[in-house]
Symmetry: D3
Subunit: 250 residues, 6 copies
């Protein structure tokens, strides 16, 4: 039976993420399943949105393990529920931001994050600190387009991303680009091409496909998060979320 990677989209806007886009990532080697959260924000564009998405996301991560998935990828660059979700399950849980930042660190001397709004720049800088790679982060640039409007005018989105990427290369001395919103899925090739036409050979990381493939190889190699530091939570009263049962480490 092929490995099954579950992608959890931590927002409540229906239709934002098309399951077929995720399924295509597996390419006959593994399968990709999908779920969305039941409680939480319509999109994630600040610390408050991310905080409100956490309980719903954790519940879906727990469900993924119960339903037999082999690994989980959180479908948001804020990586909501990454540490807390890892405590609750034994299967690997990956965030696209953490994964992309580590791969970007390998692919070049410095990397930049191209995201939606300037206001979430500090969140990425804090994530880089926690993930241990802040020395490799050249800059966080934003296109000033809200998450749910990224697809409204795809040409504008691609143009703005290209413009920011060029600035990242020329001014911030960056060598690798990471999309700073999973809503930019599918645009990497265009940006790479635009950069190449300017003479810049810059890899552009589309974080969700990368994280899903990384989850697959962890599962294949029987590697998962350290249950030493991500130990299963102690049982105790939890008010207001139904009954989130935490499964013990076998």
């Amino acid at each position: 039976m092929p490995h099954n990677i579950r992608v959890v989209t931590p927002i409540t806007s229906k239709g934002f993420r098309k399951s077929e886009d995720l399924e295509a990532i597996g390419k006959n080697v593994f399968t990709v399943s999908h779920s969305e959260i039941d409680i939480g924000p319509g999109s994630i564009e600040c610390e408050y949105d991310e905080a409100m998405s956490l309980p719903g996301t954790i519940l879906k991560i727990i469900d993924a393990e119960k339903e037999g998935c082999d690994a989980v990828v959180i479908d948001c660059m804020g990586d909501p529920g990454l540490h807390s979700g890892r405590e609750c399950v034994s299967i690997p849980v990956l965030g696209p931001c953490e994964t992309a930042m580590h791969y970007a660190s390998m692919l070049g001397h410095k990397f930049s994050v191209l995201t939606v709004l300037e206001r979430i720049r500090p969140m990425f800088e804090n994530q880089a600190k926690i993930y241990g790679v802040s020395e490799k982060l050249a800059s966080v640039k934003s296109v000033d387009i809200p998450v749910l409007e990224l697809e409204d005018d795809l040409d504008r989105t691609v143009n703005e991303l290209t413009k920011q990427a060029i600035e990242a290369v020329e001014k911030d001395k960056s060598d690798v680009m990471i999309f700073g919103c999973t809503g930019m899925l599918g645009c990497a090739e265009s940006i790479e091409k635009n950069l190449k036409s300017k003479g810049y050979h810059i890899p552009v990381i589309d974080p969700v496909p990368l994280a899903v493939n990384s989850a697959y190889i962890l599962s294949k190699l029987k590697l998962t998060q350290s249950k030493h530091c991500y130990a299963t939570p102690p049982e105790k009263g939890m008010v207001g979320y139904g009954e989130p049962k935490i499964r013990a480490v076998k």
Copy 2:
């Protein structure tokens, strides 16, 4: 009218925090009010507990501003809702961990955190990174007593805290102690005395009184968090938490 500092206890265990203990902090200069969250965990001892406490905590921070409080202190060393809560209100929001770590950085060359369980050591190390003071953190030590049992045998709690503090001074070269759980409120004097009897003149920071007093002086000096980086969240759909209205910056 005196300044009113609201303490939000981000757990659902009734009676854990006695309001009179908080009121005593103001000492005729300012008043301290108190609230507890309605949804969330019975205590906070891991990333999962903290994540589940966030929505309830943010809602109570929003309430505090609506009810006319002048500042908010979150009553947990995980500082749940610190960044997200700051986005939602204009009054200052302080966390006891962040405040204690910054004051400890001033009071000595290096500081240690004395907490409940070894499993939350990484959380403190990550907080020190985000707060920008990890160079000042000598160590995180734990007494291996769950939060809700700290008061069951107060002598044991004090003895274990003393033992860890001595080790922090002698082995980790630490100069200042911070309590790593707000449930240790009131024990600082005993530990300081025990250390002095061993020849060590070490300040022991009780984080909640310190954070409440810091919140008071911020309010008095008309200082609050930067609404530039903690800007009010954009309005959008939020499913499952009633109606958390975010107040715009005036």
Copy 3:
């Protein structure tokens, strides 16, 4: 009896600091007393000035404790005598730079220092290193006005500070401003207002009132510097400064 916070102005220019400006900080809650040094420079604008101010400042810190003060604040952003003064007394000694940098770290993602002369930028960068918060320092900007001329044309001073603050926000991505000279006392409100009119909600920290209030709460909470790392100096010969008696820790 109310707490008495002593402010020591470490320069020999008479009339630079008006005692009534300091007294106003206490606001019926605590009292603020004042002294100036007897030997040292007319103002502090370089490492040499600061070095020459040290002995005089330490002597006045020792005097403050002898005279029954509850805490000391050094009235210069170079924090001269901060570590050495702490060794000599048991009451808390705070510097406005250290205090402001730690509070600024709490109030925003990154902070900037707005100071008098470009030549003291390295001194602030070194202080941030020693205080353990250099990751939070976005930039040090200067208005190119000598200390003793700040009040000569207050409009110019405010205009230049505003200009540098705007550049700090826009170019250096700063979220909080700190005055980099205690001679700028009283200008914070104007700069904050000017920034707000440009659409920037940025707290501006006036370091002396903040440090005095912080000293007050340390005194109230019976916290002082760690006499473990700031141990009383060993007795020994000292030539040329009269008789600086160091008081032993009780």
Copy 4:
């Protein structure tokens, strides 16, 4: 046609690496081919050995691209030729040390490297610096067995690795183990089991299989090192190595 990942073993000891061990990594999804260098040391146990292995390794990386391979993995934890090899080809080049350190950073709060000889500890600490993850490195431990003797007494090797791993967990507070020599290939499961029997749930990373799988997903996702910072070397005279032709970026 399946992806073909080339493993280059940068030593001249014949038979050290069995091709079938490498081929097994692909598991019907991709193929793994193998080459060894023609000039260089018999094993790599110091900076000198590594330096002498570089030209031979680079030549084999260039050959791999010429022969149509899709990606290259260097078979040594010193990652010899990682940066220089990346300049010479357009296909992705990965090192097991860099890859393992980045994955270990994701799988736990801190990681340790278990290697052969104490004398190469500084090399790993330097690699962690260059790869940007030194904050995540808890410790480098060694079993004091030379590379070419690891297989002589496999029980002893496993016992020593287990002993060092336990010390890494208990003393150095490490959460994830990385094998610090590719000659330890195949021992991960035993160490993980031994740790589990001591109550420690610690992932143990076998770097070569991880790097080979990572190379596969890079190739699949059409990602390669940034040819902006790893630009093709300028053509110039090269004495003494035959004719290493550098292929231009297409």
Copy 5:
């Protein structure tokens, strides 16, 4: 007998380095001898060139000790063979880049490197990391002139170096300049003069004379690299480089 410092030029272009320029450095106090490598690149302008220069350089460092030299300086800012060469001999081995970066750290608050090509900027940033001084590095600037063309139009070289130096001072807030290519030998005085005429009093470090003099004082003070961390390599097979005999520590 005077101390004899050997300079090893790690490229195969004959005549690039004139022995008399090196001999002049000793000034009657010590002698300077010279050798060039037999295998390797014509010049060093990327990681590949540097890698290919390593075996030849190490062999010449071993020869220097055999021939009775008192210390070795590697004549390239990439410091090829610095760590590996130190393992192979007991006499001190210095690199001009490491030496210049440490002296520059002493001479000012921040320093810049002025080098030939933008493509080697990451190499200098990585060197600063390994040498432990990256906090002191303000910037790496390049004049866009290949190594072997530096002397073709010396006026252009000096003009471009001056232009980059001024930018380093004004934009990057740099206080000290280091030449980032040993081919710039002899130009320091001109750049210093040009900077002074712009009002900037900036020391310009010519790395080879500095490293040679530093090697002299190490030799004079009987100091050499720690043979604890740079221990003599274990004996083993080495294919393809003739017979590089490693001398044991006496």
Copy 6:
């Protein structure tokens, strides 16, 4: 005329430093002259002592330049007056601590400081931060002997230094030793020998001879501190120290 290096001993205890010990450093190549301060402490063992030594030290540094010396070395590991003295003169000013830390960084992977009293450990850690080499500092160890008693029982001093050095190598993984008090002048050879007899090949740096020789080569190479960041102080009133005339940069 030979270069004349002035050593300024920043304490008022007569006879502590014998001029002939300093003169011997020059060895027919340059001369070493000596002065002691007129106001200040009998020895330096804390921040207070160091602060009180500053004005006297600066005055002697100014005198050295007036008297035609070519460079100055401050004879104390606290490097009192290093930055402030550099502002006041145009000749190079070096501190033994800064110089030794930078050379130690070159001679090994990590270094340790062996000093007199545990209480000055934080001062060395802060110096390493300011000098930009804290990543290279393995540990600061102390022998618990006051400065002025180091020579009373030289055998005990050497034995204690050896003991601490061995612990630094074995526990702190240190590769190079630095004497942490200039009063240990002349003991390096004994400690090195003792370490060698334990099997450890560890360079032991005697900071004053190293700094004096470094000052000599700076003078010879016409290099001095950057007068850009160490600019001459502005003229202003200075009360209580006679008339310290600051010489303008020519």
